[in-house]
Symmetry: C2
Subunit: 346 residues, 2 copies
């Protein structure tokens, strides 16, 4: 039986970006895709349900100059990112039609994935499927390994999280509270600051945009200094944090979103603190720690079921909204994890 | 019997310093000291043989604003630092006249040390006693723990050392060679660069003052990148190194001598490498690792006896030369470990 054609809206990456990305850097097109994988191939055909908007994607929009941990997007090709999908057809022995998976897919309604090793079958479906773009996906494991493995937290320590209402930050704060730490977060609107205190249980929070002096804000929140800083933003915030770290403090560098779109990055001037306070600063990315996913999943699914951890998502409906949702990350427009709903069909 | 008085030349710290320290920031005076410790005290009276000039002392010359790991010097009081001394008199059960010790003493001919817990008895005297200000003292343990504990080196890795002919750098390079690493160092004169290659066995070396582009110099020396950077200088050098680190690279931050005398520090702009390369950057100081001294001493005394490690010192003769020797560190005038010989008497 010949494969019928499915109509397939897609988001195409136009060209390399400098400075802040704009909606016009992505183009919505219509195409078609065969409803079956090529005979004899080990590909899988996915129907995409949710697409994930993540800050690291900004790096893939830049012209590839320095080697990085992700390749650049290809101008004229579909944008690639994490998503949650349903298997429509499969030539691969590990996947069958109807399977729910999460992993790397295209920003389109249907994706033909020729090497499905980047896909993980979804084990628990008693939670929103979109969670596999967030708390149970890459950002969740990022928060888990960043906090538990990189920061080596101890009960009673003081923890500071920047971009604290974001996909990763909200989880770091809650993991730190579960560990018995004193936790302060910062965010860029009153709504987000309220969320940190009322919903995620942070001990304190502040709006960094309303602080004239970040050093003073941190001294107010941490009169005895910071043991652990979970770094999501970089720039001036990192410089102020360095002045407020305690001896033997740890900084997990997860991202530096404040710097990604700057053509001239902000300088860090307080590096002497690294020596005088004997600080460990360590960058990390989730793919290096994939082997911890099963342990992470069992722990966090239980936290969710027991109501010990909550998760806030910002869901844009329709693939047409994907470009705007992605660029919104870089001005902090999203409240919680930014997801794009492509299709409700489970 | 009443104690006779000994004449005692001393180097007094004049007042807090901003910018580069000058000889005039220290004053040579003459005083006297009783030749016996006060009856019933547990003090020891030391005859100082060698005094150590170390970069960290610059921090003690600044007005105490930020908490640091060392207290500031007291204006009008004698300068304090590491030294090698002979016990002249002792009220302490652990020390007897004639003992040779190393540790914290005063910049003077004789020092009355009231709490001698900072003194270590010298176990091996078949090496120059001045070595206990360097290879067998604080700088030696600094190099040892910084390289072996903080950098977790593996055979075959690439290692870069800045200020590589200094008290610490020359040892890091030799420890790295003994480990089977590929080692490159930088220094600020042709004489020092030659020393690195001819005497200390570095695989390659360059004069950073003659390089227009530090990034290009590092790319030339490390076409495949740097696994381990032993940081002694900071500023522009650190920024260039960040661009040249390999994935999972380690940076041990021992000191930032290029920045200590600047009223406006240089900014670090390439922090994104910390994430993309998953770099661990860790500051450390030797006092945190004092428990490793016995293990370090046995290893390194054997290296010295077997000729596996050599050490170059720059010895200024006479306590009158101490101020000039100290400030010379900050312009790189010393070749090798800077020591001041106060008295030859063993």
């Amino acid at each position: 039986m010949a494969a019928e054609e499915l109509s397939n809206k897609r988001v195409i990456f136009k060209d390399y970006v400098t400075g802040y990305p704009k909606e016009e850097d992505m183009i919505l097109t219509s195409a078609t895709v065969p409803s079956k994988v090529p005979q004899g191939s080990t590909a899988v055909l996915l129907k995409n349900l949710y697409l994930s908007c993540d800050p690291y994607m900004r790096g893939r929009m830049s012209k590839p100059i320095n080697r990085s941990y992700t390749d650049a997007f290809t101008p004229g090709s579909v944008i690639i990112g994490y998503g949650v999908s349903k298997v429509v057809d499969s030539g691969h022995p590990d996947f069958s039609p109807g399977d729910l998976v999460w992993g790397m897919t295209g920003w389109e309604e249907y994706s033909l994935v020729t090497t499905p090793k980047g896909l993980t079958k979804i084990k628990y479906t008693d939670v929103p499927l979109s969670y596999y773009t967030g708390i149970l996906g890459m950002p969740g494991l990022t928060a888990y390994v960043g906090f538990h493995e990189i920061c080596s937290p101890k009960k009673g320590e003081t923890v500071y999280v920047s971009a604290a209402s974001g996909a990763v930050g909200q989880l770091v704060g809650q993991f730190a509270k579960l560990m018995g730490c004193y936790v302060v977060g910062s965010a860029g609107t009153k709504e987000k600051v309220d969320l940190l205190k009322s919903k995620f249980g942070f001990d304190d929070a502040f709006n960094y945009k309303e602080e004239e002096d970040l050093d003073a804000a941190l001294k107010r929140c941490f009169p005895d200094g910071i043991d652990i800083y979970f770094e999501n933003v970089g720039g001036k915030m990192l410089d102020a944090v360095l002045l407020n770290m305690r001896v033997h403090g740890r900084i997990a560098v997860c991202g530096l979103i404040s710097q990604y779109n700057l053509t001239q990055r902000e300088g860090i001037y307080n590096m002497t603190s690294i020596v005088t306070k004997r600080i460990k600063m360590q960058g990390f990315i989730e793919p290096d720690h994939k082997h911890l996913y099963p342990q992470f999943l069992e722990a966090v699914i239980q936290y969710i079921r027991d109501g010990k951890v909550v998760y806030v998502e910002d869901i844009a409906e329709g693939i047409e909204k994907a470009p705007s949702a992605l660029i919104g990350l870089f001005t902090g427009r999203n409240v919680g994890k930014q997801v794009v709903l492509v299709a409700r069909d489970r």
